[in-house]
């Protein structure tokens, strides 16, 4: 564990450093408060600090105040060490943001015991942060596939559409659906259906760029958002994704299961300033067209339906996907 000691007096610094190194700490020793605050506030800075009260440039309580103000990531446990011992000094020290207070000359065993208290508090904070991050992940990701969940992928789509309008760029929306997924569930059971969903999700993620978004939109339906995509390559990109899914069967626990997807593609710049809901409806119509065309293919949503082609937007048929 890294620990920072700040003391302008060389003898105290040496004594502290030896005591702490002997106790197994990795010690960073500085000789004024300014250096202490800067070291603590670095990204990988120490999370334990022993600060002399009286120091040049910035005193111990000043360091505590600055660190509490600047450092918002991990909690830093700070103890003041000084020969000040009046009650009002203790109160001022603790109110500046210090967690503990030790008087000089310190007893090595007491010092180590106080630091163990600090470590316990930091350990508790780590567990709380982990729990918070886990909850945050669960709130934003789909439990089965670990892709973005429906609410988050829709928020991300809305954000990207606003950005592409501002920057006069294109956001590509791909709504895709596993073909005959109901048959997989009916034939092999829901556990195998889940395996298929997980593997398909992995393949989708592997087929896009790190800054694109993939979310689970519904049961076996996925929404892909390609940011700032060149419209000339959008169909080719969608074909690549389709091919990534279809190129080999999914190895499930009961054996290989073939999988294909139908994809509805939409290029935002062709649709003006339509709402997210409207664009998704159009992408869904294109997806339905892909299903109608025999599945395992990509269909592009067009703002102007071709003559003689039945306009599926007029009706919303119940469809077997």
């Amino acid at each position: 564990m890294k620990i920072l000691i700040a003391d302008d007096e060389a003898l105290s610094r040496r004594l502290l450093q030896s005591t702490l190194e002997r106790a197994g700490y990795e010690v960073i020793a500085v000789e004024n408060g300014r250096q202490a605050a800067d070291q603590i506030c670095t990204a990988d800075g120490p999370r334990l600090a022993l600060l002399d009260w009286v120091m040049p440039e910035l005193d111990g309580p000043g360091v505590c105040r600055e660190v509490r103000k600047r450092k918002e990531q991990s909690y830093v446990y700070m103890a003041l060490i000084t020969s000040k011992e009046a009650k009002e000094d203790v109160i001022a020290g603790l109110e500046s943001g210090a967690d503990d207070y030790l008087t000089k000359p310190f007893d090595p065993e007491e010092l180590k015991a106080r630091l163990r208290t600090g470590l316990r508090i930091l350990g508790l904070e780590n567990r709380l942060v982990e729990a918070r991050e886990e909850m945050r992940f669960k709130a934003s990701h789909d439990a089965l596939t670990t892709l973005w969940n429906r609410a988050v992928i829709l928020e991300l789509l809305e954000r990207e559409l606003s950005r592409s309008h501002r920057e006069n760029a294109t956001t590509v929306i791909i709504l895709c659906d596993i073909d005959h997924f109901k048959d997989v569930n009916d034939t092999f059971g829901h556990l195998i259906g889940d395996e298929l969903l997980r593997e398909t999700s992995k393949r989708l993620l592997a087929s896009v760029r790190s800054y694109d978004f993939v979310g689970r939109y519904g049961g076996e339906e996925f929404l892909i958002v390609l940011n700032n995509c060149d419209p000339a390559f959008a169909v080719a990109r969608a074909e690549e994704i389709r091919n990534t899914i279809a190129q080999r069967p999914v190895q499930t626990s009961t054996g290989p299961v073939p999988v294909t997807m139908s994809l509805g593609l939409l290029l935002s710049h062709q649709w003006g300033t339509r709402s997210v809901e409207e664009l998704l409806r159009e992408a869904d119509i294109a997806l339905y067209a892909a299903k109608e065309a025999g599945r395992n293919c990509v269909k592009l949503a067009s703002p102007t339906p071709a003559l003689g082609v039945p306009d599926s937007r007029i009706k919303e048929p119940a469809r077997q996907r």
Partner: protein
């Protein structure tokens, strides 16, 4: 300290040791030691190399800090007296030199209150304590360097 009467020999020995410790503590409280070698060894956790380093640092820093205090006293500058005395107090208390640390603390307090009239006298007492202390620290250094 209460000792039970009519106990066995071991208990009597323990009781005697406790009394001796208590008496030592009381003596220390009444008249702080110039330099407590045992306490210093405990503070460095019997690390003689560290002790040698600390004494070397003290030997190098002390004259500079003493000069700073003397100049502050001569200038009757309360803030500087408090700062220099505070540094000396920290160094001396780390070396278990309680008597000189106590007189440095007194000077620090006087500096904070800007009691300039007492500066020279208090500094004289401090110098006297320091003069008694330095040979003891030298002897300690000679011993750890053996």
């Amino acid at each position: 300290m209460h000792c039970r009467l009519g106990g066995n020999e071991q208990a009597d020995k323990e009781c005697g040791a406790q009394n001796e410790q208590a008496a030592k503590k009381a003596r220390k409280e009444l008249a702080p030691l110039i330099f407590d070698h045992e306490e210093l060894l405990a503070r460095v956790e019997n690390d003689r190399e560290l002790l040698r380093d600390l004494l070397a640092i003290f030997k190098e820093d002390f004259p500079r800090q003493l000069l700073a205090l003397r100049e502050a006293v001569d200038a009757k500058d309360g803030n500087r007296v408090a700062t220099a005395a505070h540094t000396l107090r920290g160094m001396l208390s780390n070396l278990a030199a309680s008597q000189a640390a106590a007189t440095a603390a007194r000077l620090e307090q006087m500096g904070r209150k800007n009691e300039t009239l007492g500066f020279q006298e208090a500094f004289g007492v401090f110098e006297n304590d320091a003069n008694k202390l330095l040979p003891q620290l030298d002897a300690c250094m000679a011993e750890v360097c053996k």
